[in-house]
Subunit: 163 residues, 4 copies
């Protein structure tokens, strides 16, 4: 990776909890402060909060919308894809790493796709995954927004574990 990192913040929209939203705002703020470009899926909840937080630190933010109404997001650059949930795949592809906050099927689809394609993931809350024996499948869990940001930045700065 050259230049500033592109970090996607993933998480539920309407179904985000108050704690998810607060965590997302802080994650966005800290990522922007560290010089990262913050990507999201461009809707509400975790996505809007990460964008707001990053903007509050003067960061560059990007929203990849499922639809075509750019007024849905306040990001620096808002891209209408019209792809529906297929835009999740583009978001993972454009990111150097992802922080997932809270749980939903859409978020899990993005986490799993990131894992499948070698994009580092750190989770803050959210769902767990276990195999048929009941053993957890490893998903890195952070204890706080600051911990999530620190861990994700360290992952992308070690080429052998990055993409």
């Amino acid at each position: 990776m050259t230049g500033q990192p592109y970090i996607a913040v993933l998480g539920p929209g309407e179904r985000a909890t108050t704690a998810d939203v607060a965590a997302a705002r802080e994650v966005g703020r800290l990522l922007a402060k560290a010089g990262a470009t913050v990507l999201s899926g461009g809707l509400g909840g975790v996505m809007a909060a990460a964008t707001e937080g990053a903007a509050s630190s003067g960061g560059v933010t990007v929203a990849l919308l499922p639809g075509t109404d750019r007024s849905a997001s306040a990001a620096t650059v808002v891209l209408s894809t019209g792809l529906g949930e297929l835009r999740n795949g583009l978001l993972i592809r454009a990111a150097d790493a992802v922080i997932a906050i809270g749980g939903s099927w859409g978020t899990l689809s993005e986490i799993a796709l990131a894992r499948r394609t070698g994009v580092p993931v750190v989770c803050l809350g959210g769902w767990q995954v276990s195999d048929p024996t009941g053993a957890n499948v490893e998903l890195a869990q952070a204890g706080s927004p600051a911990d999530a940001v620190e861990r994700i930045l360290s992952l992308i700065n070690r080429p052998e574990t990055g993409r």
Copy 2:
């Protein structure tokens, strides 16, 4: 839904277990016998076995390849997408319902996307998902290939629970 159902059979390629492969072949055979068109991601393991099983019953099979080498699959119709893992989203969009066999990150990304977009899912083995309290997030589990096929066909024939 009108006409014959389109059912995607999802599951790992190289990492599929012997039991996954045997189950996929039987699921494919039973789906074709029931008149379904069987979709897959076009690679090996569960994907190839579902295609073989369906072909053994004279069924129509479709493979959506991540790459562009059509010789990767023996399906009736093999489509080179060149989209990499983004073809997972197309597979879910083209299917009326999905049967997931075995566990992998790629398979989980497809299951989660199906759930997100309202496409019925039945699992046969594979990973479990739990929320932060440790409670399982509901994923319909079948006990056998025949049970999986029976359940998925009943789901798509009840419009209120189908797409």
Copy 3:
């Protein structure tokens, strides 16, 4: 290329002329007779006629729909993409070569994309393209459905000029 060729038949839907439709049906029939799988964009006009023609010779046909209503096409395999006009790019990617019949902006976008990506194209009627000096930019023009099919099959059988 191994196995039977995949040939996309491109052309307008509602705005197709009677001559376009008749030519598409004959092109579809001849392609299927030659063992090709016939791909189309799955709507009416040229697309439906190519599918019908190929089916009349017992050929395998594939429709890549812009939307999600499979009843729009009578092809052997009908794939809902929900991608709108972005499905044009998938159609070109999945095809070994294309025959374009008649003129429209959608058809021209597909012809141009095929040329851009090295997919052989033969046109039957349709629009011409010229550079700023007024000189025509070369687009192979066939004189009849039989000529179009013969030329496209010869192009894909010469690896040095194929993809």
Copy 4:
């Protein structure tokens, strides 16, 4: 359309002429001065020149790369799509209007897709399209970079002719 307009500048990369590149730089500069966000396909030639021109006026620029190497573009936001030429369709979808400079098959595919999907297009040089009777199919031609920018901005500000 609400907020600042998103204008894509389309044109050849390596095959761009010196005049194309100079025109693209001036178009980028004028678009940014008018408050537009400037989108491009992220490679060289016309694409790089439009980005440079817009940056010289302090504009926000976006590159949608066909590949995944972000160092290919100096845009404010550079998105790796890995979609190859399929990213052309995303570029058209994300833009309110497009200015096409110079001629190539890739550029023509984008112009045609824009016309197909109702996105206003103004050309500066480039290829002409004619129907079977030899009559030109209408493509708005500008006489200079300033004329192109003035015309495209007037088109998107008249809702009845915009998207």
